[in-house]
């Protein structure tokens, strides 16, 4: 399996993602600079967290139009799996690969804490190693993480089973109290129509080693390695 991580000016989770991928794959992913127009053949493209272009204009807006993104969009539409984490999710929505937008948190605060997520699907290459409905603990670290889309789009996402994760309580109950940022319908991550592009605000790459106080993220990278060759 070959993986590429796109590095934008202001990305800051690219190396964490590289460590997580290397631990799962047994070899290092390729780091691709945003200004490159060439992207190596990849079984997985990862857009990491951070603050690309200082979040100028809107989070992810500038990065979505980086030279390399044209190729990322082309590959994504051709079926190459793409995982966007945090700022990577914002970039995916701005690039039009995922619907909706990530807006300022309802609290107006930067939120940096662990949250509980309900795994809404385990039939995708990203989540095969999880149980359906499993409650996992991932960190979030963002100020623009409030998922917004109009009601029709939200209904369509739910109707097509495209919600990947929702913020929930320890019992798995999806409640207002468990929603850290005001996201519509507690949505923490969504898939594209084919389930090959996943955008999510929480950080699986930050929980892949017991020394980081948890390993709930490991299963995502294990799922990817198992299904991509």
């Amino acid at each position: 399996m070959k993986a590429s991580i796109i590095v934008f000016p202001g990305s800051n989770c690219d190396r964490d993602a590289a460590v997580a991928l290397e631990a799962a794959m047994g070899k290092a992913p390729t780091m691709v600079w945003h200004g490159d127009s060439e992207l190596p053949k990849s079984d997985l493209i990862l857009l990491p967290g951070g603050f690309s272009y200082g979040d100028y204009l809107r989070s992810g807006a500038m990065a979505a139009h980086s030279p390399v993104m044209r190729e990322v969009v082309r590959r994504a539409k051709a079926g190459t799996p793409v995982l966007g984490i945090c700022n990577g999710f914002q970039v995916l929505t701005e690039a039009g690969l995922l619907p909706g937008v990530l807006m300022r948190n309802a609290t107006l605060r930067f939120i940096c804490k662990d949250v509980l997520l309900k795994v809404e699907r385990n039939d995708t290459r990203f989540t095969r190693a999880y149980e359906l409905g499993e409650v996992v603990r991932f960190p979030v670290a963002h100020k623009d993480g409030s998922y917004f889309a109009d009601e029709d789009t939200l209904d369509r996402l739910e109707g097509e089973n495209r919600v990947a994760f929702r913020y929930c309580e320890a019992s798995g109950a999806v409640s207002e109290a468990a929603n850290p940022n005001g996201s519509r319908r507690n949505i923490a991550g969504i898939y594209n129509e084919t389930g090959t592009v996943l955008g999510m605000m929480p950080h699986p790459e930050r929980l892949v080693d017991p020394a980081l106080s948890g390993t709930d993220g490991t299963k995502m990278f294990a799922s990817l390695v198992e299904t991509l060759h």
Binding site: L57, R58, A61, H65, P99, V101, M103, L108, F148, A149
Partner: protein
């Protein structure tokens, strides 16, 4: 020519920053304030001198980058340099 572009949140889109500004105005004693929405203002200079072509260019800029039309509306005025 210069374009003065105003980008505003669409009606119904939650604007927590506008709400916070409204709260601060109330705290300052501006009791008549009944709603605040925050937006963006951008000035773009273009070398194009044909107003119709300049308008078409500005609209493409707004659609492709300056506004996210899922949540934002844009409006602009053109003025000769």
């Amino acid at each position: 020519m210069k374009a003065r572009i105003t980008i505003t949140l669409k009606p119904g889109v939650l604007d927590p920053q506008g709400k916070a500004i409204e709260g601060a105005l109330h705290a300052l004693g501006f009791g008549a304030v009944d709603g605040v929405r925050q937006g963006k203002y951008i000035e773009v200079e273009v070398t194009e001198s044909d107003p119709d072509k300049a308008r078409a260019e500005i609209e493409r800029m707004c659609e492709q980058l300056l506004a996210n039309t899922i949540i934002e509306n844009y409006a602009y005025e053109l003025e000769a340099a």
